[in-house]
Each structure stands twice: as C-alpha cells, then as structure tokens.
C-alpha cells in the first residue's frame, strides 16, 4: 500500500522545504523531553549546581536516581502513582457509566422535559468549574469525603460535555433494535446494557480517553480535596518536591519520566481513539 501511494504522490519542491522546517519545529518540541530524560540520569548534585542545560557530564550519568525515587520517603512515589491511577480509573468508569446512561435517556426517548434537560446540559457546559469549588469543598467536607480519593471523583462523575456527546451518538443508533427487543420482553436497562452499549464502543473509547486525560491533568480540584501526603496525585506530589528550601531532583526527574511513559505507551497503541477522543468536540456529527 505504502509503495503504491508514494508513486502516486507528486511532491513539489516546496514540500521538502516544509519538511525541513517541520523537522526543526519537531526538534524544538521534543527538546524539553530530551532534557528531562537526560536529566533523570544525572546525579542530583549536578542538577543543583548546573541546572538543566546543555552541559552534561556523561561519566556521571547512571540509574541511581531511579532507585532513589522508589525508595524516597518509604515509597511515597508509588503511592502518588497509585493515587493518580485509581482516581483516573474511578473517574473514567463512573463518568462513562453515568454520562452514557443520561445521554442514552436523552437520545433514545421522547419525553416531557427532554428539551429542558438538554438546555440545562448546554448551560452547564458553558459554566466554568472554578466558580463552584468553594461550596463544593464545603459539601465534600460535610460528606466527610475530604482527603479521600472518592471525594475527588464525586463532583466530576456526571460530566455535561460527555452527556452531550453520548446523546449525539445515541441518536444515530437503530431504534428498531430496541423495539424488537421490547417486544421480546427485554427490560429498558437491559436494552441499554446488552444491545446499545456494544454498539457505542467507538464512542466509549473516545470519551474514555477524553475523561482519562482530563482526570490525569486535573490539578485544582485534587489540590483542594487531598491533604495527606500519601494520597496526593502524581502531578501535585511531584510539584511538592520543589520547595523554597530545596529541590529533590533525584526523585523529581525520574518521577516525571515514569509519569509520562504509560501514557505514551497507551497513545502508541490506541492512536486513533486518542486523537478522536481529544478532538471530539470540534467534529459536528
């Protein structure tokens, strides 16, 4: 296939210039990651004296930092990792489940109040989460969910944007299947769970990525809810290694590298879902 494509494509000379330009851009974009990875092999004293720059002493590079990172404060790094992963998992699973439920209800049935719910959903999509954090903090505190991972996930379980997206995809599903199942005596939830959900697999993939990336990136709300050091999410924990009194580079650098690696692996295997999950809003289906 690839060979046939190359023969058909007529490359103009401008294309080669653009390629050179983009290679330069790509190098600029990848450079910070290069410094991060290289820096993770340099001893902490080097980083303190010389910072992150072009001057490296290859003879002093080793895997020591990685060992130190795992042992730091009796393995708190792994606890941060676990925290981030479990919050991401909870948020994605709950988000997918509840949002698809509501999207299914809004898209599959005609009922009184449907228009009102849709308008409510659209309004909520425009509302910035930041203005709700203070009362939400009080609410979570009253529910004794402060400093718990579930407290982080709870307000984010029903996401207006995901509801909207699921509704759009449910509208395109064959309703005759549902009618046929109903005649055979199938209950409404079973229709949703056993028939329609498998049909929406692509939507679940895209929304799953969208939700997972959103959760991984979220800093403000976990920062507010989580207080004890062990429960911090990875970004917040790594950030806490940079203090005015000293920077724990030997944990920070390998910690950051190891935080990126899983997502990169997931990306390379699920590229298409990834891209569609992140760009899902702009494609008017």
């Amino acid at each position: 296939m690839r060979r046939r494509e190359k023969l058909r494509i007529k490359r103009k000379p401008a294309d080669y210039m653009f390629a050179v330009f983009m290679i330069c851009m790509a190098c600029i974009f990848l450079a910070p990651l290069y410094f991060l990875v290289v820096g993770s092999f340099r001893p902490s004293s080097d980083l303190i004296s010389y910072g992150l720059g072009l001057r490296i002493d290859i003879s002093r590079m080793s895997l020591d930092n990685y060992v130190i990172a795992f042992a730091y404060r009796s393995g708190v790094y792994l606890k941060w990792y676990f925290s981030s992963l479990s919050i991401m998992l909870m948020q994605t699973v709950c988000g997918l489940f509840f949002s698809s439920l509501v999207g299914y209800g809004l898209g599959m049935y005609k009922f009184k109040g449907r228009g009102l719910l849709l308008i409510m959903d659209l309004i909520l999509m425009m509302l910035p989460f930041e203005i709700l954090i203070l009362p939400l903090y009080q609410l979570v505190a009253r529910m004794r969910l402060l400093d718990t991972r579930f407290g982080v996930v709870m307000p984010l379980m029903v996401a207006p944007f995901m509801i909207f997206f699921f509704r759009q995809s449910v509208i395109g599903l064959p309703k005759e299947l549902a009618d046929a199942a109903r005649i055979d005596g199938c209950g409404e939830f079973r229709i949703y769970w056993n028939i329609m959900v498998p049909l929406m697999r692509a939507s679940f993939g895209a929304m799953g990525i969208f939700c997972a990336m959103g959760s991984w990136n979220n800093v403000l709300w976990p920062l507010i809810v989580l207080q004890s050091n062990e429960k911090l999410t990875l970004p917040i924990g790594l950030s806490s290694l940079l203090t005015p009194y000293g920077n724990a580079y030997d944990v920070l650098m390998p910690g950051a590298v190891l935080a990126i690696v899983p997502i990169m692996i997931v990306f390379f295997f699920f590229q298409r879902s990834f891209v569609s999950g992140l760009t899902i809003g702009s494609i008017k289906g």
Partner: protein
C-alpha cells in the same frame, strides 16, 4: 401490556436521574451558594454575616488588578500563538510532505505530558543558574550579559513563561483540530477555484476558512474559556507562592483567597466576577455568530 408500557414511560426519567441529581447537588446549589457567599462575611464558626457589596468593594486592590491583567494578557497571547502555530502546522502537515505522520506525532507528543510536568520541565530549563538552558542560549546568542532569573523577573516575563508552557503542551491539540477540519475541505472546490485563477492565498481565504469555520469558532471559544480559568500553568511554575504576584491569575487568586487566607466571601466575589467575564465573552461570541449566520 400495561406493565410494559409503564416501564418504557418511566425509563427515560430513570436514565436521566443521575444528571438531575447532579444538576441540583453539584451545580445549582454550589452556584447559588457562591453568589450568596460573595455578599457575606463567611466566618469559620459558620455564622455568615450579610455585608452587601463590601467584598466587591474590597476587591479592587493591586492583587486583583494584577491577577486580572495577567489573565487577560495570558489569554490573548495563548489564544493567538496557539491559533497561529496550530494552523500553520496543520496547513503544512496537510500537504504530502515526507515523514508527515512522524512529524505529526512529534508535535503531538508534548500533549501526553500533563501540564504540571510540562511546567516542571520549563521551570528547570528556565532556572536562574548560568548553566540552565535558557540562560545558556541567551548568553550564547549575546542577548544578555548575566544569567537571568526568568521566573522572578517580572510580570510580563511570568506571563510569557505560562504561555510558553501552555503552547508547548497544547499546540498539538490545536493542530489536530485544525488538521481534522482541513481534511474535511472538499478538494474539488479548491481545484475549481484554482482553475478559475485563484492563487493559494485566495483559495485559503475564500474556500478553506469558510469550510472550517465551525472548528475555528470552537477552538477560539475553548481557548478563551481555558485562558480565563487558567490555574495549572501558574501552579506548575510557581507552586508554593507567586512572588510579587508574578504569575497570579484570576483562578489562582481565587484559590489563594479561599484556601490560603480562608476568606470564602472574598473568594466567592472573585468567582462571580470571573463568571461574569466568561459569560459576557460567551454572549458576545454567540451574538457575533448569530450575525454571521444571518449574513450567510
């Protein structure tokens, strides 16, 4: 028969129940509470005193105007740079250049790092040491004599730092949005225009841009929304404190007021103002969109 009909009628309401509950508990109640608290002196004992507009009047301090200005500058810079870079990359990578897929991936890879890690990397690259990358490059090029403490240099430098972090991380997403949109522009239209004698710029202005307008509007809206509620970029670069209010954004100020100074009343007032700004921009955008639609 009667039982089955009843099940189908109730079902949609049951399906939507999570949303209805969430709407009241997680959205409406906190929203109203924020409005209420902005007019109150919120005491730790729980007895809130109604003080009218005093929170809002106390708000207009140096901190607030700095936060507002930083947020505005950040939003304008971030939106324009990402828009231009993303569009430029998308246009180039839409052509059949060699290694196209690989190049697309490399621009996208920074998106996979979280914003905080991006901030940490740039925080170290722009450290104040002589051997930090930024100082090495700037001194090597002869731009500066002595190493600069980039993160504590000044308001504008701080804002540019946040924009650099955000652009590095998110241009990949903008690029992918535009790329998907560009791929939806029908080739025949462009060919027809070229046959009629249009050059590349004219094709771009009159065929490509109108075709991708929904995407342009979406990216613009999301950039502006994200810009005004920026917090993570600021936290990534200055996590413990913002020295001299460098890097102070509206949301960061809200957080500081609410959780560092434990003044929920003032923080709520900041939140209300933030919301008014964001809603006004949304309304302005909707109005502009409406006008455009009528002209078409």
């Amino acid at each position: 028969m009667k039982h089955r009909k009843k099940s189908k009628d109730i079902a949609p309401y049951l399906f939507c129940l999570p949303f209805i509950i969430a709407f009241f508990v997680i959205y409406l109640y906190p929203f109203c509470k924020t409005i209420m608290m902005s007019f109150q002196d919120v005491r730790p004992t729980g007895e809130n005193v109604f003080i009218g507009m005093r929170n809002f009047r106390n708000l207009f301090t140096d901190h607030f105007t700095t936060a507002l200005r930083n947020t505005l500058v950040y939003t304008v810079l971030n939106t324009s740079v990402q828009f231009m870079l993303g569009m430029m990359f998308a246009l180039i990578l839409n052509r059949y250049i060699p290694m196209r897929n690989l190049l697309r991936c490399t621009i996208f890879v920074p998106v996979l790092t979280s914003t905080i890690i991006a901030g940490i990397i740039f925080r170290l690259l722009f450290g104040s040491l002589e051997t930090s990358l930024a100082n090495q490059i700037a001194m090597g090029l002869g731009l500066i004599e002595e190493p600069v403490a980039w993160l504590t240099q000044g308001q504008m430098t701080g804002n540019i730092m946040m924009v650099i972090v955000a652009c590095w991380r998110s241009t990949g997403v903008t690029m992918i949005y535009f790329l998907s949109a560009l791929q939806g522009v029908p080739e025949e239209l462009k060919e027809a225009a070229r046959i009629d004698g249009a050059n590349n710029i004219q094709v771009f202005r009159h065929i490509t841009i109108p075709s991708i307008r929904p995407t342009l509007i979406y990216v613009l809206t999301m950039s502006i929304l994200g810009g005004f509620s920026v917090f993570t970029e600021s936290y990534a670069l200055w996590n413990t404190a913002t020295p001299g209010d460098i890097g102070l954004t509206m949301t960061r100020y809200l957080y500081q007021m609410g959780f560092n100074k434990v003044n929920f009343g003032m923080a709520s007032a900041i939140g209300i103002i933030l919301m008014i700004i964001i809603c006004s921009i949304n309304l302005i955008q909707l109005k502009c969109l409406g006008l455009f639609r009528e002209e078409d």
